[in-house]
Symmetry: C2
Subunit: 405 residues, 2 copies
């Protein structure tokens, strides 16, 4: 299992009599694997037929017909109409029933929090933003409950599950062990949400969710690192197509690697951590210091607004210096893991290109000379909804055993 899964099982009862997942505990292991194989085929092909599924999976036509019957009855797959005949009766085309289930996804990596309802294809059908003044401590936890409750009650299809991407370290039961940027210490988020909603809930680190989304929604290679730079800095690592979680699990916690000796004190207790010189708040502070202007800490994270306050040069310089520090750490990541594709997200609108350039230059100057030309540091393809997509992808993996790619 890649991330933390609900213990409450997969049966949902939003619509009486309808189970949100057709693969509940009563389904035999082999039959469940076959249902997942058939559904994954439909996900991959978009439009297909029973004959194609039989050919692709090696299952008999009779078995496939039986599986599709169950998938159609449970509302995941639908018959689209007749296809082209290759002689004889034309096949019935099958497709995903995108609106057959809703997925609730929550992104706690941005302030305010954000939530969305997605359909089974990963398309966002509804968005909701949290309150700006409810992003920390107990108020933050209550805000998550409010966003989830609102999305669940407005869903027009049975809810397959709830996925949450959060900063910090998440334990095997989906509790947030430590998220200093949210002032959360030991918040049993998965359990609380599961009790309140009686739905399957998955909670994962935001950078881990992002890496999963980048891997599943693009044609990225099987090895991949995704770096998120916002209030904190974290990475998600995909190794051979699997999310690498680590022993705690807390893989990718690069924000507390020391890059300045001795450096400024960090909230973690050490000094000179990457977050002290490359997080978005530290970039804003640095731009303000360069400009000699007071930083009132309430500005939106946009290059245009920051430039208006501090002047363009201080902002660019601060962004480039942060990029150099991130690049120094990423050079180590690349050397240690020999992963050539790195995807970066920066939560300053309009600031990504100079940030990427500074990272690329620093990485190239630090890795083995023959490695430098093949390292690909880029903005990724999934944009600002990366955590939302990843949180939904976790639900899809856990409840239906399929992925988008």
């Amino acid at each position: 299992m890649d991330t933390q899964q609900t213990k409450s099982g997969s049966a949902s009862a939003l619509v009486p009599g309808a189970s949100a997942s057709p693969f509940d505990g009563s389904t035999h292991r082999v039959r469940r694997a076959n249902l997942q194989a058939a559904l994954q085929h439909v996900y991959r092909e978009r439009v297909t037929s029973r004959a194609s599924i039989s050919k692709d999976t090696g299952l008999t036509r009779a078995t496939v017909s039986d599986l599709i019957l169950q998938l159609v009855r449970s509302g995941l797959v639908r018959e689209i109409g007749p296809g082209t005949s290759s002689g004889g009766k034309p096949p019935t085309l099958l497709g995903l029933n995108a609106d057959g289930r809703a997925i609730v996804a929550i992104d706690l990596s941005r302030q305010p929090f954000r939530g969305a309802l997605l359909d089974l294809t990963g398309g966002i059908v509804q968005r909701i933003d949290g309150r700006r003044d409810a992003v920390r401590g107990d108020a933050g936890v209550e805000e998550v409950f409010r966003l989830v409750g609102s999305l669940v009650s407005s869903a027009s299809a049975p809810v397959l599950g709830i996925g949450v991407g959060t900063p910090g370290i998440v334990d095997a039961d989906g509790a947030v062990v430590e998220a200093s940027n949210l002032a959360w210490h030991g918040v049993p988020l998965r359990r609380e949400l599961a009790i309140r909603t009686q739905l399957p809930v998955t909670v994962a680190n935001d950078a881990h969710a992002s890496a999963l989304a980048e891997f599943e929604t693009t044609h990225a290679s099987a090895n991949l690192v995704v770096v998120k730079v916002g209030v904190g800095i974290g990475a998600g690592i995909v190794v051979d197509g699997h999310l690498h979680l680590g022993d705690r699990p807390a893989a990718g916690e690069i924000g507390h690697i020391r890059v300045v000796e001795p450096g400024l004190p960090c909230h973690c207790g050490n000094t000179g951590c990457l977050e002290t010189v490359a997080s978005v708040p530290s970039i804003v502070r640095s731009a303000a210091a360069i400009a000699g202007v007071d930083d009132d800490d309430g500005r939106p994270w946009e290059v245009r607004q920051l430039s208006a306050a501090f002047g363009p040069e201080p902002v660019w310089n601060a962004i480039r210096e942060a990029g150099r520090n991130v690049g120094a750490v990423l050079a180590n990541v690349v050397a240690i893991l020999d992963i050539h594709r790195v995807v970066v997200s920066l939560e300053i609108d309009g600031g990504l290109e100079p940030f990427l350039d500074a990272i690329r230059t620093e990485v190239a100057s630090r890795v083995l000379p023959d490695l430098a030309p093949v390292i690909d540091v880029s903005a990724g393809e999934s944009g600002p909804d990366l955590v939302i997509s990843g949180a939904a992808a976790m639900v899809l993996r856990h409840e239906l055993g399929v992925m988008w790619r």
Copy 2:
């Protein structure tokens, strides 16, 4: 596949009529998987019976009897004698036929090179050391051929295969792309050895082989980092029980992570690399410099001998300073991968404990405070034959599909 496998197939003809591997190309895929499952059971249990194998694998008694017949005939398994009856006929006990095959393993990470013949349990039955003056360039390649030839011709059982652990980067065909400490650039080692011996050959990076050995021969956790400090510095990373190879594959190339700004020039073309301040030659140079004594570069790597030349304090100080630099890099490895178990080998006899202490102190000062107490930096359990064991483990995985643990 974890490492680079021979393309020449598994059939060996040292003993006419005997195939060294019973799992050659003509064996059906499913039967081969069953043979491997039965043999892995014998490896794990040491002494077992057909009934136990049947119970463990879920295969029928008749199938197991048939598989064991083939494994006994091919000389991998032997009947030990009658066991204790639980009523009725006593079962025939089965065990590994340790001497049924020989494995040739070569360690190029030390100077001089070393080789060994191992039995099927991984026990070393014969050792051979290379010449001190043949450790680089073409002379080094010829020396590998000589060591392998000598070991193959002295084997008293069919040779299952040849495993080589080498410094540097090894490509997917077992060629050594770059091993600057051997002055090798693009040496097609696997292919040359396969042509000369007509045996299956596996070539892997020495640190990768070490990580495999540490994982298989100890009860180490599924996530593990092994660091080798000798002429060069490299690491092998086991993630969820699999060797992580990386994209090139060159995972674990930590010797060229920059730790000193700007630092001394490194042979790789960059400056301030870990190898410039923590490899064994750099430790010897540093001790000599502290003592103000000429370093003649020909001393054996032993604390006693180095202390006689430079005095004890300069030697301890140089070892501790190198340990601090290795610790700074390992703190990053731990933060990035969240792997808590780190095994270190240092090729200075008698120098490991102060080296480990310095690493532990540096790692603890750099990782997140709550992580420091759970990081286990140790000497490992497999000792100086780690690369030999790893090279043999690769052969066993590739030719028989089994591992020691």
